[in-house]
Subunit: 332 residues, 2 copies
């Protein structure tokens, strides 16, 4: 018998995929391997579907998550997967596993969080299933839509493309460290404390950028959301696109709050490269494609190359960018 | 704090729905409260989406479920919800929570079961999420489609309609009792034993009937799948449709296998009325609507009335039909 740890998450997905997709057929356009599955429903319209499970003790801990936070975040991470396909979310279904320790009021707070997360983006909760479970288990499925020509996969990056990220990086995992280690607001400043903790508990799916791109006729060449850390996600894009990348440490967008939290054990650059849960968008595009883009909505951090994934350090050195993101099976 | 047991499953769904659906808007046509949610994607096409979670120790027990059985059944129960809307399933997503005790081979067997269940109905597994959990948790979401005019809800039953069921009833819960009580094949006959156990472990979603109706231009007036027992599901149709019903004990379709298993503690009629997990279809239709239907594909068990839900016993007595199906919160 082989353990799942030995196989690792990538091999696991590969082996399971080979069982369930013996021969891919229409109308599915893409399946396992991107942020969401795409299927065609009309001549030029596609539907986009994504599922993510959040499980108490693994993805969140009620020591520092409220029920409403857990609901909000379960919705947000799924909406982020829709954003990562450059699509627009429409509706969500919820499967809840509920332990005996959860009261009716707890469950209402959880639904409140789900609803706040959904309605902020015009998404409707359309149904679901509620049952008993030994710990709280929250599976959200979101269905979105797009024109077929709008969908952006991970595999479209081309040599010479710019590598860009939305927002700032690293704050969410710094926020998690603050919560895990019980760091007090006084230790990092209460403004920074609040911002970093909110980055972890209440991430914003960057659907605003998807809308902005749609209104300006901009289409990235490759797109992914940063759930497992920038380094890891950049490796995903390069693997899918068959290319390399070079990024510059000095260009990484670090928030003021992250820079302020100097007492944290990891440096802000490490958080930015390897911290998970930011749910910002990582994308590539030609300079031409971005000529009308709002420069305030993203930061260019590097360039797509033919091969090798490299990091230019601020001290001038050049080193391989090692993917050190979260593996749901090796890390737990 | 109120416990969920006090509220009961119906109130639970009602209270959560009032949080998440403050004002229902397009393009969702129906949401929480039927077997699946419906939303419009084209002028005359709708998409149908349903989610169900199966959790180890609550919905299945590895004492008598193989990994492949668990995968098969998780897929089948979701496909049954698509059948219960008179729609055609297209694709599925899977969210898996996996405990440490599960090996790679176990997980492959689970996926094999999911794939067998899906491909029997031309359904493709299009993606999903796999993560750690304390027990095996298996959430399947299925998306289907239909013409808008084909969709059948629970609320369309009208006085004078016939009440019909597909296949036979009660076998699945008799099979569960056989497994739970460790009843040996010799005690009920090996043919009956195998048939009843298979009814529980490997239910068939009745998508064949949906196809048959489509080809013959037949549309039931109300439709639901029998997951929680006939009595319970008939109450759902009557509540949604604002009507009553009378059914005849003598007309209940009992399989030979169920009749053969006379040593079981509950009588075969009790299994047929109150046993869950059959995944047959319960539907209502006018006599006119069924005039071209294949009489071998269903059994007429009663009539829709203005009010009261009644059971004509074989001994000539008339009694209220009490819903005694499974409540996922009161029963556990």
């Amino acid at each position: 018998m082989s353990s799942i740890e030995q196989a690792g998450e990538f091999n696991l997905i590969h082996r399971l995929t080979s069982i369930s997709s013996p021969n891919v057929k229409l109308p599915i356009i893409t399946g396992i391997g991107d942020d969401a599955a795409i299927y065609r429903t009309g001549n030029d319209r596609v539907q986009v579907v994504t599922t993510d499970a959040l499980i108490e003790g693994y993805h969140f801990d009620f020591a520092f998550y409220s029920m409403e936070d857990a609901g909000y975040k379960a919705m947000a991470v799924n909406l982020s997967d829709i954003a990562a396909m450059n699509a627009h979310p429409i509706l969500a279904t919820i499967a809840l596993g509920v332990p005996r320790s959860v009261s009716m009021e707890n469950l209402e707070a959880l639904y409140q969080g789900l609803t706040v997360g959904a309605s902020a983006h015009g998404v409707q909760i359309a149904g679901g299933d509620t049952t008993r479970a030994p710990v709280l288990m929250l599976t959200v499925t979101v269905i979105g839509e797009a024109k077929a020509s709008e969908i952006v996969y991970r595999n479209g990056a081309r040599t010479g493309d710019m590598i860009c990220v939305s927002g700032t990086l690293g704050g969410a995992s710094a926020g998690l460290d603050i919560l895990r280690h019980g760091i007090k607001p006084e230790a990092v400043g209460s403004t920074a404390w609040n911002l970093l903790v909110a980055r972890h508990l209440r991430p914003t799916p960057r659907l605003d950028l998807v809308k902005e791109w749609a209104s300006q006729g901009i289409r990235p060449s490759a797109l992914i959301d940063i759930s497992d850390g920038l380094a890891n996600e950049l490796h995903h894009i390069c693997a899918a696109s068959g290319c390399g990348a070079t990024i510059w440490e000095s260009r990484l967008p670090l928030s003021e709050a992250l820079r302020a939290a100097v007492i944290l054990e990891r440096g802000s650059v490490d958080y930015a490269l390897n911290g998970g849960d930011d749910y910002e968008l990582l994308f590539t595009a030609s300079e031409q494609a971005l000529k009308n883009a709002n420069p305030a909505s993203f930061t260019t951090i590097g360039t797509i190359t033919e091969k090798d994934i490299l990091l230019h350090r601020t001290d001038g050195s050049l080193e391989p960018l090692v993917p050190a993101g979260h593996d749901h099976f090796s890390a737990i």
